[in-house]
């Protein structure tokens, strides 16, 4: 049947189509879009205004060390002083001492919180500038290529300050306090940088002095006191500062119990080493401190492990059993001072190992069995301080 005029649908003329009613939802959505566009424009403008032309956008991580200003560091503008920037440092705890004495120990001061200035009221010194503060991100800005080593030991923060030595015509002492998360990590970094020629400090068991400085670990802090020169007054001031800081920082040897049991006599300080697990390739030797001793002209490696008593005994027994393998010879020695002891020889090396009250220790890989026994005996008798 042919289409009739009545049946045809009139063609739709788009150009004649005008919307006269816009639903509220649509109006609202449209307004929202316009506002969003305006907002985006504003953000782009703002970002562009603050754009750092030296931002290497592909390496954002590399810029962490300059992403924030370092507190206390003077800007690269000549003579700009902290006061000009409105930075005010208030005294917190301070210890008054004379140059010759070391003053009363302050009440156990808490480790410096971020931003707490390094203050010392010590006769003969004057701060040269503000305290500088660095964290893990900004440490690179202070010690540059050394930073990765510190970060490897979970470095937390650094505060440092220079002090002029009054009356010396320009001598000064730099004080650096590196805070780590644990005393063990602070020890680890200290040991890594240890100067084998350093002289032991009587006020810091983990410490030594060099020709121009004092370096020690106190709690979870690795302290460096560096003199600008070797004038007597400068070095004496550096030493006083070291004493003051050693007293002010809280002592904390958590995780370092075995370290305390390494005697100081005959110790080669550069040989002190900490192994968290698998010390000497033995599964049962954990959190071990070892060092080499000069004893009667012989070099004797000695180690100590502190554990729960039954764990220490189990380790001692396991070591004894291992020593008997592969042709090794074991000689049980009589108990001494409450300690059980065995002596063993493997491949021409001797070991004399004791266990007492949760402490496992002894001489290992020694060339001389008699010396090894003598050392252990004297150690157990408390004759090697």
């Amino acid at each position: 049947m042919a289409a009739t005029a009545e049946n045809k649908t009139p063609p739709r003329n788009r150009s004649q189509f005008i919307r006269t009613h816009i639903p509220r939802t649509e109006q609202f959505a449209a307004m929202l879009c316009i506002l969003l566009l305006a907002g985006i424009g504003l953000v782009i403008w703002q970002k562009g205004k603050n754009f750092d032309p030296h931002l290497y956008a592909l390496h954002p991580d590399a810029l962490k060390s300059t992403a924030e200003a370092v507190a206390g560091k003077t800007a690269t503008i000549r003579g700009e002083a902290a006061q000009a920037r409105g930075v005010v440092q208030t005294a917190t705890t301070a210890t008054t001492t004379t140059l010759d004495g070391y003053g009363e120990a302050s009440a156990a001061a808490k480790p410096a919180a971020k931003g707490e200035p390094l203050l010392m009221t010590l006769a003969g010194i004057k701060p040269m500038g503000d305290t500088e503060f660095y964290n893990a991100d900004t440490l690179y800005e202070k010690i540059n290529g050394r930073a990765p080593a510190y970060l490897g030991f979970n470095f937390q923060s650094l505060r440092c300050r220079a002090f002029e030595v009054v009356g010396t015509g320009g001598s000064y002492v730099d004080v650096y306090e590196y805070y780590f998360d644990t005393p063990v990590n602070a020890f680890g970094m200290f040991a890594l940088e240890r100067d084998p020629q350093g002289a032991a400090l009587d006020f810091a068991p983990d410490g030594y002095s060099g020709a121009m400085g004092y370096f020690f670990r106190q709690g979870a802090v690795y302290v460096q006191i560096i003199a600008s020169d070797m004038k007597e007054k400068t070095i004496a001031t550096a030493k006083s500062i070291a004493h003051v800081r050693a007293k002010a920082l809280p002592a904390d040897d958590t995780g370092l119990a075995a370290r305390r049991r390494l005697p100081a006599t005959g110790l080669d300080p550069a040989s002190v080493q900490f192994t968290a697990e698998n010390a000497l390739g033995q599964e049962f030797l954990k959190n071990v401190f070892q060092a080499t001793y000069n004893f009667g002209g012989k070099k004797l490696p000695f180690l100590v492990m502190v554990a729960a008593p039954d764990e220490a005994v189990a380790a001692w027994k396991a070591w004894s059993e291992f020593s008997g393998k592969f042709g090794g010879t074991i000689t049980p020695l009589p108990d001494a001072g409450g300690a059980k002891i065995f002596q063993a020889e493997n491949s021409g090396s001797w070991r004399v190992i004791f266990v007492r009250d949760g402490t496992l220790g002894g001489v290992f890989d020694a060339p001389d069995a008699a010396k090894a026994r003598e050392f252990v005996q004297q150690y157990l008798e408390g004759k090697i301080p």
Partner: protein, 395 residues
């Protein structure tokens, strides 16, 4: 005096007995480990060799390894800050007669081209205290460290000339390279094409698909008589249950089963293990002695599934399954995974430097569908978690 009695007791024991004080003769060992041949060289070496990177490395530790039958030590210029080679040297000085029975390898980094090996060999020999190395490797070859040109080195005339010169000088018996790079297959293919490389140390996991690109590259090298030494085989096994009933029936711990799975591939001559303690040494050497035949496919699959199930945050084992992804994206999944592995599994703090040495593009996961990648991955590695952890540890 408190300890007089003790002193007297100790003194009695210490009364001069010359015979007792003299060291006993070198310990009798349980005999050398079973051996496999190294490619066309025909040289027989221990199926298990000991890497020189672990903290326990010392002359006494090498004594123990020797006593347990290991006759193959692997070291390198940079292991333990350069101390590893010196320890080997100390041990060889103590037992010079053992040198001919030992297969000793070391490595160096000729960043300016293979010909640098000609000057580096003398330093390695001096450090190891020996007159020759049984194998000398280019250490950890890869385009990032050595440049894109290095992909051609295994078939280049220059490297061939250097290898010939090293061998004719008597300072080296075999020349090759070690590789754990994402482009391992390319290096293997180049070596097969060149035909002159004697030995390759490669990252190896026994769970690849038969016939895939890695399998083919291995076969190509094997057919050319290139010796293949497996390394980094123990990744992702830290959280495995120590024993599984199926492997108990075979008398194997799970760790030993992994070693057996690797030895099941006859193309692999030896496994290089970083043996952290004596117990691991005992287990690994026992595995070598007990190996008689290949694990069944069912056992290998069980092992693979166990590894998958045990590790929620699976590390990328470096299999070639996502090579096609690798071609389209700069994200260095394998390197990131390696850094996290070293940090979490080995406590290796230098993993931070490894991660930070990667260009930022290679560390940037934005725009990469890590969830989809996980689905596609044979091991369902949780890449999102890996990348996140890497940022947290190292960035």
């Amino acid at each position: 005096m408190a300890f007089a009695g003790t002193s007297a007791a100790l003194a009695r024991v210490a009364a001069p007995q010359p015979a007792a004080e003299k060291p006993a003769p070198a310990p009798s060992s349980t005999g050398p480990l079973p051996t496999r041949k190294l490619g066309k060289s025909g040289r027989a070496v221990s199926m298990l060799n000991m890497g020189g990177m672990m903290a326990a490395m010392s002359p006494q530790y090498l004594d123990t390894a020797w006593a347990m039958g290991i006759r193959y030590f692997d070291t390198a210029d940079c292991y333990i800050g350069g101390k590893s080679e010196k320890i080997v040297g100390e041990w060889l000085a103590k037992y010079p007669e053992r040198r001919k029975e030992l297969f000793l390898t070391s490595k160096d980094h000729p960043k300016h081209g293979p010909k640098q090996l000609l000057e580096m060999i003398d330093r390695r020999l001096e450090a190891c205290g020996t007159e020759y190395l049984d194998a000398f490797y280019i250490h950890g070859i890869g385009p990032k460290g050595y440049g894109e040109d290095s992909l051609n080195w295994p078939k280049s005339d220059e490297f061939k000339r250097v290898a010939d010169q090293l061998k004719s000088s008597g300072k080296v018996k075999m020349v090759g390279f070690s590789c754990h790079d994402g482009r391992l297959n390319d290096y293997l293919a180049a070596a097969a094409e060149g035909g002159f490389v004697d030995i390759i140390m490669l990252q190896y996991r026994p769970f690849f698909k038969k016939g895939d690109a890695f399998d083919q590259a291995l076969s190509a090298c094997h057919d050319k008589g290139i010796a293949l030494v497996a390394m980094k085989t123990m990744r992702n096994t830290k959280d495995l249950p120590a024993r599984l009933p199926e492997f108990d029936k075979l008398g194997l711990t799970t760790h030993q089963a992994v070693l057996h799975a690797v030895w099941s591939d006859p193309r692999i001559s030896s496994i290089c293990n970083m043996i952290d303690n004596v117990v691991m040494m005992e287990t690994s050497t026992a595995a070598a002695r007990s190996y008689k035949k290949a694990l069944t496919t069912a056992h290998r699959e069980l092992l693979q599934q166990t590894i998958l199930a045990s590790n929620r945050h699976m590390f990328c084992p470096g299999c070639p399954a996502c090579d096609s992804f690798g071609a389209g994206s700069a994200l260095a999944l394998k390197d990131i995974s390696r850094a996290v592995t070293y940090y979490e599994q080995d406590g290796d703090l230098s993993a931070r430097e490894l991660y930070q040495s990667l260009p930022a593009l290679d560390r940037d996961a934005s725009g990469v569908d890590l969830a989809a990648l996980r689905e596609r991955c044979d091991y369902h590695v949780d890449y999102a978690s890996l990348v996140q952890r890497a940022e947290r540890y190292f960035a």
